[in-house]
């Protein structure tokens, strides 16, 4: 079998995903160097159209550089996407592992709770949390994490359920290994691939959620974000539609790249697994 990287890049979506996400990452990392200074600063005449000299994407109604906003917004989107995903994956893995490994009443309780969280309108709950705790980076990341963990929990539970009766786990148990050691050294390493795939798709959802929260005006006001830019551009949509169109395209490209990565990871890590249905 070819090494993982070769298999991953051999999938067409893998190559596309890496390239697109790499570009967004470079933009985020290079934002301070490409567009030094405050992206909120008014630097030119208002409402310059895209491709104006010196202002690739034009300026908004206050004369702020759209390209600078897009570059600095990439930092916020990726940052929130990564942290929210880490929170959700950690919480989901712990709960899923507990449920799958112990079974019985623990399993029942955790899974009922998971179903409940999955049923309620998550986006509304996230809005409520951000509104009540006050819009900030922390409350947004927390809210997205809180509504996103159930899919990981279900996935990890299913993996643990099937693993715990396998011979190598039985052997470890007979060998006197502790539960903790069995979970971390025997089962978890074997369930990493589906978790990695789920994480990349979850990050796509997290970025979409963050943009929607910021679009509604609940973003962190100190940081410029793509969702906020779309919302701000909306007031003059009929005259200057590109103010909303351009940051939205940035979200689209980033989310598409992450979906591509998830798809390619899935094919490279689990060659015999069927394609995933969705990250809903």
């Amino acid at each position: 079998m070819k090494p993982f990287a070769a298999r991953f890049l051999a999938v067409p979506t893998g190559m596309a995903g890496v390239t697109l996400l790499g570009a967004v990452l470079l933009l985020a990392l290079g934002a301070g160097w490409l567009y030094p200074g405050d992206p909120w600063a008014m630097v030119a005449d208002p409402n310059l159209p895209p491709l104006s000299p010196g202002y690739l994407f034009g300026t908004d109604m206050l004369g702020r550089d759209i390209a600078a906003g897009v570059a600095h917004g990439a930092r916020v989107s990726l940052l929130i996407g990564v942290i929210a995903t880490v929170i959700a994956v950690l919480a989901g893995t712990v709960l899923g592992a507990l449920a799958g490994y112990h079974g019985g009443l623990t399993d029942d309780l955790i899974m009922r709770f998971t179903e409940i969280v999955q049923t309620i309108p998550g986006f509304l709950l996230a809005l409520l949390m951000v509104a009540i705790f006050g819009p900030s980076l922390y409350s947004i990341v927390f809210a997205i994490g809180v509504i996103s963990w159930p899919s990981v929990a279900r996935l990890v539970r299913a993996e643990f359920l099937s693993m715990r009766t396998r011979d190598f786990v039985k052997a470890a148990r007979l060998g006197g290994q502790s539960d903790l050691r069995i979970v971390f050294r025997q089962i978890l390493p074997n369930t990493l691939s589906p978790i990695v795939v789920a994480a990349s798709l979850m990050m796509a959802t997290a970025i979409l959620l963050e943009s929607a929260i910021s679009f509604l005006g609940l973003g962190d006001r100190r940081l410029i974000s793509w969702g906020f830019m779309i919302g701000a551009g909306r007031t003059t949509l009929l005259q200057t539609w590109w103010l909303s169109a351009i940051p939205g395209a940035a979200i689209f490209v980033t989310v598409l790249a992450l979906n591509f990565m998830g798809d390619a990871l899935n094919q490279a890590l689990n060659p015999r697994r069927r394609p995933t249905g969705g990250h809903a």
Partner: protein
């Protein structure tokens, strides 16, 4: 008998979800930084002491927590969601006024996403590997990655402003005073863009799920048997493959209900649709938390009811469903 038990269990589960939502609402207001009374008043530090005192009385915030919770339960059981201090009206009155518009929008979006999603998925599976399949798969990838509020804004620019085909806001033409079927047609005209926008993400989900399921079913023995017996191809696709490909689709329906109600906040905001999603947006801005909590509660109840009906219909439609779960 078995079905009755199944239904009873489902009802119990539904009640559990609703109880959980109530607990979340209750906890959120009390876990928030600051005094719950000033939060419910919607303005930290900027209201007069008498008003805050009134809220504290109204909500029994001076009582111990368990007493507060029981009182809160009693309130909700009678559909009393408190007062919107912004509108100075009972919250339930405002919500029930706006609910029909949201039901119309979300149900239309739901039907649209299932019909189009399953249709596209079947079409792609039937022509797997051709350009038709490639186009449909690519389109579903695009729908899957778009922020729906962004799509809505672009659709307004294209279909309302540039082409002038469809209205861009509201639920009916202002001042048109239409009667009978013309009024319905007018609403339908206004409904088209928001419903499509709201349904598009799940069109992508259902397309992918249906395509994958149909391709898997296609090669199974019972399909080969049917073909060998000379069953017409149309009938094979409709009766043998479609029916089985629908099974995984149904598991996504319950997830979609919550998603679509959350999404309606965005879509109703973009299209100025006069439903409870738009109400939630206004409540966010006016810090009208009583109203916001009620929208969350009512939306959750609707999701639970929807799932209950879906479960019941499903158990009747497909005898293979496990009545145990």
């Amino acid at each position: 008998m078995e079905r009755l038990l199944f239904f009873a269990r489902r009802c119990l589960k539904a009640l559990l979800v609703i109880l959980c939502v109530i607990a979340i609402n209750f906890a959120l207001i009390r876990a928030a930084p600051g005094d719950p009374a000033t939060i419910l008043a919607g303005e930290a530090g900027a209201v007069d002491a008498g008003f805050v005192e009134r809220i504290r009385k109204d909500y029994g915030l001076d009582q111990p927590l368990p007493v507060q919770f029981v009182a809160y339960l009693q309130q909700l059981a009678t559909f009393n969601f408190g007062t919107s201090y912004r509108e100075n009206r009972p919250v339930q009155e405002i919500i029930f006024e706006k609910l029909p518009a949201t039901l119309l929008l979300t149900l239309s979006a739901f039907v649209f996403s299932v019909v189009v999603g399953v249709g596209l998925g079947m079409a792609a599976a039937r022509r797997a590997g051709t350009w038709v399949d490639a186009t449909i798969t690519a389109a579903s990838l695009v729908f899957f990655a778009m922020p729906l509020f962004w799509f809505g804004l672009l659709a307004i620019v294209l279909f309302s402003v540039k082409l002038g085909w469809l209205p861009s806001y509201g639920m009916s033409t202002v001042g048109a005073d239409l009667k009978g079927w013309q009024a319905w047609l007018d609403v339908g005209h206004h409904l088209l863009l928001p419903a499509v926008t709201l349904g598009l993400f799940y069109v992508a989900v259902y397309t992918r799920v249906t395509r994958a399921a149909a391709i898997e079913v296609m090669d199974q023995d019972f399909v080969k048997t049917a073909r060998a017996k000379g069953v017409p191809e149309r009938r094979i696709w409709r009766h043998h493959i479609l029916r089985n490909a629908l099974l995984p689709v149904i598991t996504f329906v319950s997830l979609q209900a919550g998603h679509i109600l959350g999404g309606s906040v965005l879509v109703e905001t973009v299209f100025a649709w006069p439903g409870i999603g738009r109400l939630a947006f206004d409540a966010l801005f006016q810090r009208d938390y009583n109203l916001l909590l009620a929208v969350f509660f009512v939306s959750s109840v609707m999701v639970v009811l929807f799932n209950l009906v879906a479960d019941l219909l499903y158990s009747i439609a497909d005898p293979r469903i496990e009545l145990q779960t």
